[in-house]
Structure formats: C-alpha cells, structure tokens
C-alpha cells in the first residue's frame, strides 16, 4: 500500500531532489504575448518620437494647432489681405498694392488731406487738448533752434491729438492717439522703404516719402463744405517728408516732418526721444 503524501515527510535529501526536479516551462502563450513586446516594435525616427509618446487625443490637438499655424504662415505669405492684417498687428505701415492711390476728401473739412496742415486749425493749447483726449499728451521738451510750437488740435473721430511745430522751411506734426483704431495703420506706397529704428529702447518705423497729388477732380458747381472730391495720388520716395511711428504703452505716436528743410532721420529720432 502506498504512503499518503501528507504523512511521513520525505527526508531532506528527497525534498532537495524533488525541488531540483521542478523545471516548469512557459507555454506558447508567453511567446505569443511577447511578439508584441515594446522592444520588438520599430522605433520611430527621432523627429517623430515626440508624436509616438502622445496620446491619440493629444496628437489631434497638436495636429490642429500645427494646421492653424500652417494656414497662418501660408496665408501671410500668399494673400496680401492676410499679410495686411498681420502687418496691422505688428507694424504701423501697410504697403499699398501699388504706388498709386485714389482718395476721397471733403472740400473744407479741417481734417482732410488738403486742410490738415493749415496752422489755422491748430488753435488749442496742449492742456486743452489733453483734457479733451483724456490721456497724457507729450510734447517736444527741448525745441531745436528755429523750431517753434504753433498749436494743437484734437480730432474726436480718432481721439487723436496733433501738435504742430514750424521750423525753417518745414512743418512738424506730432500725433498721439490711443492704440486700437483704424488710424493705427498708415498706408504707404508699394515701393516705400520702411526702416526699423530704435527710439530709446522702443522699436519704431521710419518711412521717407509720401503721397503726392497728381490730379484732382474739379469741385462740383453747387459745392458745400462737405462736398466730396476725388484725388489721385502717387507715392514719391523723394518727397521731402519723413514719418516716424512708434508705440509706447497704449499710445501710438507719429512724428512727421514735411518740407525741404526737414530734419534728418537722426534728428527726427532725437526729437522723438526728447518727448515729455
């Protein structure tokens, strides 16, 4: 009769022998599982490893962001209208599609192109326009020899303040307005050259030249001060006009000199630096 396995324990040597005989082997199931082991998967190229570690949902988000960026870049590169919007965000000047422009102005509005530079429209003091504008108006602190302050005007349409200075054979317009209206951008000819300059530690843009009227539509017979006329203008890089634009805080500044005796670029920048 055989011994019960639970009685009469085997000798130590028998236990050793039995333990030594236990040599379990894995089934084919282990091999099947290990066929999908991570070290057997092809390693993606270094550049795409980032994507490989992303969850599918995250990949979708990153893909969407990449698509938007791509559309933005391509749109900026290929479509002038998108490029114009981009420039409007980052720059002060927008190049027009050509060097020719047709603009519509009123006959007697003090704000139009013809009448804007008339000293008769700059009758207010700086403190007066400052009250109207509601922001601190800066002026040229040290006037160079020959340059005098004429007066100020406030344009409620754009909440803009313009100070007029007159020098020897030139006029200087200093315009200040809060950022965020259509006047933030100034249209320039397609061939205009925009120079990036530093005004202190602020980057500004300088354009030499301006729009020159080449034909004016005759005024209507029954003209009133509000009558509109069309002017054809051409951009002229040799026009004695320089425009310097920059932004400080929420205020957009524009310093424009017009006239044969206009200050040089460096003098214009120095004047901009000296605003207080």
């Amino acid at each position: 009769m055989n011994k019960s396995p639970y009685q009469n324990p085997p000798e130590e040597s028998e236990i050793e022998e039995m333990l030594s005989q236990i040599r379990p082997l894995p089934t084919s199931r282990l091999d099947n599982r290990m066929r999908a082991a991570p070290w057997l998967r092809p390693i993606p190229p270094k550049g795409s490893r980032f994507l490989a570690y992303l969850k599918p949902a995250h990949r979708l988000v990153w893909g969407f962001i990449a698509l938007i960026l791509m559309i933005a870049v391509l749109g900026t590169a290929w479509f002038p209208s998108v490029r114009a919007i981009a420039r409007q965000i980052f720059y002060s000047f927008i190049p027009a599609p050509s060097n020719q422009l047709e603009v519509q102005v009123t006959l007697a509005s003090p704000g139009d192109l013809f009448h804007f530079s008339d000293p008769a429209n700059f009758t207010q003091s700086i403190s007066e326009v400052q009250k109207q504008a509601g922001f601190g108006v800066k002026a040229i602190s040290i006037l160079p020899e020959g340059l005098t302050f004429t007066g100020s005007r406030f344009d409620p349409s754009y909440n803009a303040v313009t100070l007029l200075y007159q020098g020897n054979n030139y006029k200087l317009f200093l315009t200040q307005r809060p950022r965020g209206n259509s006047q933030d951008v100034f249209s320039i000819g397609a061939n205009a050259i925009v120079k990036l300059v530093m005004i202190g530690d602020i980057q500004g843009e300088l354009v030499v030249g301006g729009w020159k009227a080449i034909s004016t539509q005759p005024a209507p017979e029954n003209q009133t001060p509000a009558s509109l006329i069309n002017i054809n203008a051409i951009w002229d890089n040799d026009l004695p006009q320089s425009t310097l634009r920059w932004q400080s805080g929420d205020i957009v500044y524009e310093l424009r000199s017009i006239g044969m005796g206009s200050p040089s670029q460096s003098e214009l920048i120095n004047l901009a630096n000296g605003l207080k």
């Binding site: 055989n2 011994k3 019960s4 396995p5 639970y6 009685q7 009469n8 324990p9 085997p10 130590e12 236990i15 050793e16 039995m18 333990l19 030594s20 005989q21 236990i22 040599r23 379990p24 082997l25 894995p26 089934t27 199931r29 282990l30 599982r33 290990m34 082991a37 991570p38 070290w39 057997l40 390693i43």
Partner: protein, 181 residues
C-alpha cells in the same frame, strides 16, 4: 565607471537579454508565485515590460541585469500576492499537471507510483508556498534555478555558511510543515 549609454537602451540588446533570461525569470516567478502558469506568464511579461521602461536607469553587466530582473519580478509577485489576499477565491496554488508530467516523462515508473509522486509534489508545492518570501526565494534559487550556494551568497550579500545553514533550516521547515494542515 558608468558607460555613457545604458547597456539595454538598444532594443537588440534588450531582446538578447530577454532571450537569454526568460526561462530563468519564468521559473523564478513560478517558484515565488506558485502558479497557475497563466498568471506566471503574465507576470513574466510584466517584468520585462517594466524593465524595458526603466532600462534607461540600469547600468551593469549581464549578471547584474539578471539580478535587476529578479528584483522587479519579486516586487510584482508581492503585488500579486497582495491582490490574491484581497480575492480569497484565488488562494489555491497550483503546480500545473503539465509541468509535473514533464518531469517524469522519461522516468519509467508505474502509474501508481506516478500518482503517488504527483501527490507528493503537490504537497511540496503547497508547503513551499507557505514559506516566507525570503526563504522561498532561497530555495527557488538553489534548487529550481540550480544556483550554487556561493552565487546565492553573492546575490543576497550574505556569507556562504549563513546561506547553507539557512537553506538547511528551510528544508527542515518544509519537513515540519509536511504533515500539518
């Protein structure tokens, strides 16, 4: 001095490690865990997957890699035992018949003798699984993996004599636990 790149970083190197150690790790886990074989295979897989994930932190030679795998496997077995305690239905330890049969396939014994020895192995397995983890590990290394006492002493960082005495006590504990319920 450490190599600049972890030795198992390369998939081919890791694949070679798997090929050369998978049976050892499987048996180690089997001895420590007690079966069934499906769970042991799952734990073997998990051991290598965990090692693969942590390969960047491993610096060492082949023997150290094996010891590193043992450490990972031991932790996984402890976790599995904890889970088993929370699921009392799984408390039976099973030495698969397929493995027992494989041991005696070449041994000429009668069916009666074979049945008796089968029962003895089942009992041995039950008593072995009731030993504390450290004692069971020592017996697994010594007998199921065939390590010499010196190797075990180096692995456990103990004196050879200490290991010998310890193994002897473990065997005695098995004998004492043989007839117990």
């Amino acid at each position: 001095m450490r190599a600049s790149q972890p030795p198992l970083q390369d998939p081919e190197a890791f694949s070679n490690l798997y090929t050369s150690t998978q049976i050892i790790i499987f048996r180690f886990i089997y001895g420590m865990h007690g079966g069934p074989v499906e769970e042991v295979e799952d734990l073997t897989c998990d051991t290598y997957v965990r090692a693969w994930k942590g390969r960047g932190r491993f610096f060492g030679d082949d023997h150290e890699a094996l010891c590193w795998l043992f450490t990972i496997a031991r932790h996984l077995v402890i976790d599995a035992h904890r889970r088993r305690k929370t699921h009392p239905d799984n408390t039976d330890v099973i030495l698969d018949d397929t493995n027992i049969d494989a041991q005696y396939i070449s041994v000429q014994v009668t069916p009666e003798e074979q049945a008796t020895r089968h029962e003895q192995f089942k009992r041995l397995w039950q008593v072995l699984q009731n030993l504390p983890d450290d004692k069971r590990e020592m017996l697994v290394l010594r007998y199921m993996l065939g390590w010499k006492v010196k190797q075990i002493a180096e692995y456990l960082q103990k004196e050879e004599n200490t290991v010998s005495v310890y193994i002897h006590r473990c065997l005695e504990q098995i004998r004492q636990g043989w007839s117990a319920d």
